[in-house]
Amino acid sequence: MRGVTELAKILSLPLVAAAATARARGKGASLVVSTTLAQVTHTAQRPFVPLALVAALLGVVVAFAANKTIGATTFSGHLAQVLAVAVTRELTPLVVSLVLVARTGNQLTIQLGLMRAGHELDALEVSGIDPYYFVVLPRVVGVTLGAMALAVCCGAVGMIGGHGVARLIGALGYTVTAAEVFNALAVRDLAIALLKSGLCGLLVASTSCHFALTAGRSPVGVREAAERAALWGFALTLVINLGLSVYGFAG
């Protein structure tokens, strides 16, 4: 029962932030926008290089595995599609989600938890500033946009990198062309990838903010909140990835 309550609170947090935004009537909009952009940068820019390398590696592995399995069969025409779907729609959003939980979500929980413990959020409230508008909203929107940007960029790197390396090495008779790979990427697959990463970003940020804002005002409270946020974040992102993968393969 407690889990259901927590889930309801996590899912309703973006709505609470939206309501607070409506009440704020544009006050401090420039500050909120700059915080949002900073959060997008923090979410997408800094982990981009290591994630892009992982995506490229995944691309190479998928290209070789698919080539070895179906390259010499009558299904060889689907090689490019396998690469596009596996890397862009499935693996990259999953890796992005895991990185979001482990890095961004953790950092958010600790940051907001310490702000709560240090009465920074109380000081905002006393100044007539709603923390749900001024603190939560930029983080939720920033992480969501950052996750989508990260998934698109890493997906592209994964596809290009995987295909490029496979072509360069030329092992196992890999003969798929770049045009075939890009033509194999359907708009629907791209949309699912964006939806996966966007939803995961939204849920990771909401989970982290929820647990941070209800944490005890002590280092122990912050640590417990970070632990709970990580567990919930992992569970929710896995559910989202699994659900949208099933939808993607069923379509």
Binding site: R23, K27, G28, L31, L114, M115, G118, H119, E120, D122, A123, L124, E125, V126, S127, G128, I129, D130, F134, T214, R217
Partner: protein, 254 residues
């Protein structure tokens, strides 16, 4: 406004903690008039933190009259005799938290100006001049460009005080006025507050865990022990219980 209205305003409480029983007349638990200085003595865990947060409007008050523990009803905090929404209270009530409550990762100046820049045209007129004056009075000028995490507790608390006083609040809640300040800084801060009380009628509530302020600077002392709020009329007088304050407020609110 007429003189009579001015007089009525001066004598009526600025901040009140009132218990509203389900049936019967409201029971005032705590009244604070313009220019008053009250010290609430007791540990944070005894309910001091909860009471200050309730007076600041951050959480609903869980307080009831002494001896009426079973009477159904609820306590409310009134400002100028009215229940005000949190976003309408910000200019009337200032709070200096234990650690200052400044936003880390930003400069001290950013923190000082944040509420006023946020509210834009709704911010009280002349806030910039007042902030400059307060920064000078509280010796903050050298620290304005520094990031909050690079400052010590003394600067953070003085900066928080400057930010709150620039609002020209009617009530200032100051938790642990002795914390982080040197003797000289503490004297300077208390003198500044004394001037604000006498010249502008700011009512000040101190959260005073050790009873540091008891011998001087305040005209009323309220003792909190085990969630019981007692009024101390004079140091030699026997404390009289006036209310129970639920200590684990934070846990309940969550």
């Amino acid at each position: 406004m007429t003189n009579e209205a001015d007089d009525a305003r001066a004598t009526s409480p600025v901040l009140e903690l009132v218990f509203y029983p389900t049936r019967g007349e409201p029971i005032p638990l705590l009244e604070l008039r313009a220019g008053a200085a009250v010290a609430i003595v007791g540990d944070a865990s005894a309910g001091r933190d909860a009471l200050l947060r309730a007076l600041a409007g951050l959480e609903p008050p869980y307080a009831r009259p002494e001896g009426d523990e079973r009477v159904p009803g609820e306590a409310r905090v009134l400002l100028d005799g009215r229940l005000k929404r949190r976003r309408d209270r910000w200019r009337s009530v200032g709070v200096v938290f234990e650690q200052g409550g400044l936003w880390t990762g930003r400069s001290v100046r950013f923190n000082l100006e944040l509420p006023y820049r946020y509210h834009g045209r709704h911010a009280p007129a002349g806030w910039r001049d007042r902030l400059e004056e307060l920064a000078r009075e509280l010796d903050l000028h050298d620290a304005l460009a520094r990031r909050v995490e690079d400052t010590d507790l003394s600067i953070r608390r003085r900066a928080a005080l400057a930010r709150e006083l620039a609002k020209e609040p009617r009530v200032l809640l100051f938790d642990e006025p002795q914390l982080g300040l040197s003797d000289a800084e503490r004297e300077r801060v208390l003198e500044l507050l004394e001037r604000r009380r006498s010249t502008r009628g700011v009512a000040v509530v101190f959260g005073d865990p050790d009873g540091y302020l008891r011998p001087f600077k305040v005209d009323r002392v309220l003792e909190l022990a085990d969630g019981q709020l007692r009024r101390v009329a004079a140091p030699s007088a026997r404390p009289r219980r006036i209310a129970s304050v639920d200590a684990p407020l934070e846990r309940r609110a969550r």
